[in-house]
């Protein structure tokens, strides 16, 4: 739950939707207006918040399937758990 909450708090920095109004089924691009770089940067911010480092590069295929808030949270969880 902490990851989900933090994700939404950080996502708020790059979109006009408030953290508590962000739902998991929202689309990052269409509903939150996040660009690909916004998403990258927000993942970078989360790395700092949780003091972890993702291994994937910006071109990684892992980012291709990230459409909804839930997808992004799951990607983040995958790495946070591995750490």
């Amino acid at each position: 739950m902490e990851i989900e909450k933090k994700f939404k708090e950080v996502a708020e920095r790059y979109c006009s939707v408030k953290a508590d109004e962000i739902t998991n089924d929202m689309k990052l691009r269409d509903d939150l207006g996040l660009s690909s770089l916004d998403l990258m940067t927000l993942l970078g911010d989360l790395e700092d918040e949780f003091d972890i480092e993702f291994e994937f590069s910006e071109d990684d295929n892992k980012l291709a399937g990230i459409v909804t808030v839930e997808d992004a949270i799951n990607l983040f969880k995958e790495y946070a758990d591995a750490e």
Partner: protein, 509 residues
């Protein structure tokens, strides 16, 4: 003295030997290499070229920005060989195709892409050597250390002539096949010379653009080296904002997408924090200048960044012009315009299209005579952009002649290239790719015979599956984010070609 990157680099070696040239991060520690150290490595690699008979050859570079990548690149462009920098984010088959089509005989390969070595060997018979930029050698490759060892006892190879091709940059082609832009030693030299600004050595650049782009190579790296600057490598786009805090740059080059993201971050702090304090937090103590290009920037951002003490200068160019053609600069700036023509570029308009002539205009497209003739006529480069000039000599862009889609990350997308790939699918009868809100949309009229027994949802799901499969193999900027399923075929002209300006007509709402 001849106008070559070789002579420029010789000057750097003599004048800046003890100064730092490159900084990069290993984990969170900053590493550094001086001009003297960099020059010694560059010379050693060039002697290796002499030992292994690389003279007037094409040498590809596959990898992301690193000190090793830059050493290898500088060795190629200061010898009489030509560098072919590749977009390492492309699918493997596209990279192999470019190595093959560029007639590269040598390849520098980052260890992250080591799996390509075998495929290159199998498909590109001209490739004699693959040198691993980092890590150990894999089957069929050598390391850069091996290359350097081979060069011991050899002299530096002959220096390049002004008209020698120094770099071949691949760029999106409207015919669906990317084109290799041949830039000579003099093309690059004169482009840097024309954009130089008054600065002493020691200026710190943070380089965040993809290193295979002409904009990044010429304006960050070669321009920075010319001035004796320190070039800092951004390890990952995710860390751009963090790295501004680590390196404290004076100057950055960005595409509009980056300014948009940073602006959102600035705004997220709310209005209670004074702009000076916020600028210090986000931009560090020294960043005052951002140069932007690759796509048009909304002038709104120029005004907004100024509130934080940052001057944003928009420029315009294309790989075919090494790449800068016009720029805004200190004392000559008009927001919304792309600035005035560089001193080495002559500009005229033909039916509204911007034409350029000058010492930075490319030699032509490699092995593509027809495309070269279509683009270069009597020495004038047809840019494909429409624009006009105002009474003060500032140029404004107001449209495009060709179908390229320009995203705010500066990537040029050829819709025909994507359409060609997807049209091979049986379920797709007609497809048009368009760009809106910085995203690519696939507009598809499905093959009626195959979908006649399917519901609308089933058709959309089947088409989406095709797009998902395509997206997985593509770098982010080439992915199709949206799908529109058409109920009717597209409107066509007399020769049965789809009329692109009317693709939105008659779409389901």
């Amino acid at each position: 003295m001849s106008k070559t990157i070789y002579t420029m680099w010789k000057r750097c070696e003599e004048q800046y030997s003890d100064l730092p040239a490159v900084r990069w991060l290993v984990k969170k520690d900053v590493q550094e290499r001086s001009y003297g150290e960099l020059a010694a490595a560059v010379t050693a690699i060039k002697k290796g070229f002499a030992a292994q008979s690389f003279a007037h050859k094409h040498i590809a570079l596959i990898g992301t920005a690193s000190a090793e990548w830059i050493e290898a690149y500088m060795a190629v462009v200061t010898s009489n060989n030509a560098a072919v920098p590749m977009d390492s984010g492309l699918p493997a088959e596209d990279i192999i195709d470019l190595v093959y089509r560029s007639d590269s005989e040598g390849v520098f390969l980052d260890e992250k892409f080591a799996s390509l070595a075998e495929k290159i060997k199998a498909n590109c018979p001209l490739v004699r050597k693959i040198w691993m930029l980092s890590g150990d050698s894999v089957e069929g490759t050598e390391t850069v250390a091996n290359l350097i060892n081979a060069g011991e006892g050899y002299d530096e190879p002959e220096q390049p002539e002004e008209d020698d091709v120094s770099m071949i940059v691949y760029t999106s082609g409207t015919t669906g096949k990317s084109k290799g832009v041949m830039l000579t030693q003099c093309n690059l030299y004169s482009n840097i010379e024309a954009v130089l600004y008054e600065e002493g050595p020691g200026l710190v650049f943070l380089s965040v653009l993809p290193v295979h782009h002409a904009f990044c190579l010429t304006m960050d790296w070669l321009n920075g080296f010319w001035m004796g600057s320190v070039l800092c490598i951004n390890d990952n786009l995710r860390h751009m904002i963090r790295n501004i805090g680590i390196y404290n740059p004076d100057v950055m080059l960005m595409v509009p997408l980056m300014l948009e993201t940073i602006y959102k971050r600035l705004k997220s702090f709310g209005n209670d924090v004074p702009p000076e304090a916020l600028a210090q937090k986000v931009f560090g103590p020294k960043l005052k200048r951002i140069f932007t290009g690759g796509a048009h920037l909304d002038p709104y951002y120029i005004e907004e960044f100024e509130k934080y003490g940052i001057k944003v200068y928009e420029g315009y160019g294309m790989s075919e012009c090494s790449p800068v053609i016009t720029n805004n600069r200190e004392g000559a700036c008009k927001p919304g315009s792309i600035g005035r023509a560089l001193s080495n570029a002559e500009i005229k308009f033909e039916n509204g299209e911007i034409l350029v002539r000058g010492t930075s205009v490319m030699k032509g497209y490699y092995n593509m005579e027809k495309e070269t003739e279509e683009t270069l006529k009597d020495g004038w480069l047809h840019t494909g952009d429409k624009g006009y000039i105002d009474e003060d000599g500032f140029i404004f862009i107001n449209g495009r002649v060709k179908n390229l889609i320009i995203l705010s990350n500066g990537e040029n997308i050829s819709p025909e290239e994507i359409e060609g790939k997807l049209a091979l699918n049986d379920l797709i009868d007609e497809i048009i790719v368009t760009g809106e809100d910085n995203l690519l949309t696939a507009r598809i009229y499905p093959e009626q015979e195959l979908v006649k027994n399917m519901s609308e949802d089933e058709i959309a799901a089947a088409l989406q599956k095709i797009l998902d499969g395509y997206n997985k193999s593509q770098p982010t900027y080439k992915q199709l984010s949206r799908l529109v399923v058409r109920k009717n075929p597209f409107f066509k002209n007399a020769s049965r070609k789809i009329i692109r300006t009317e693709v939105l007509r008659d779409e389901p709402i």
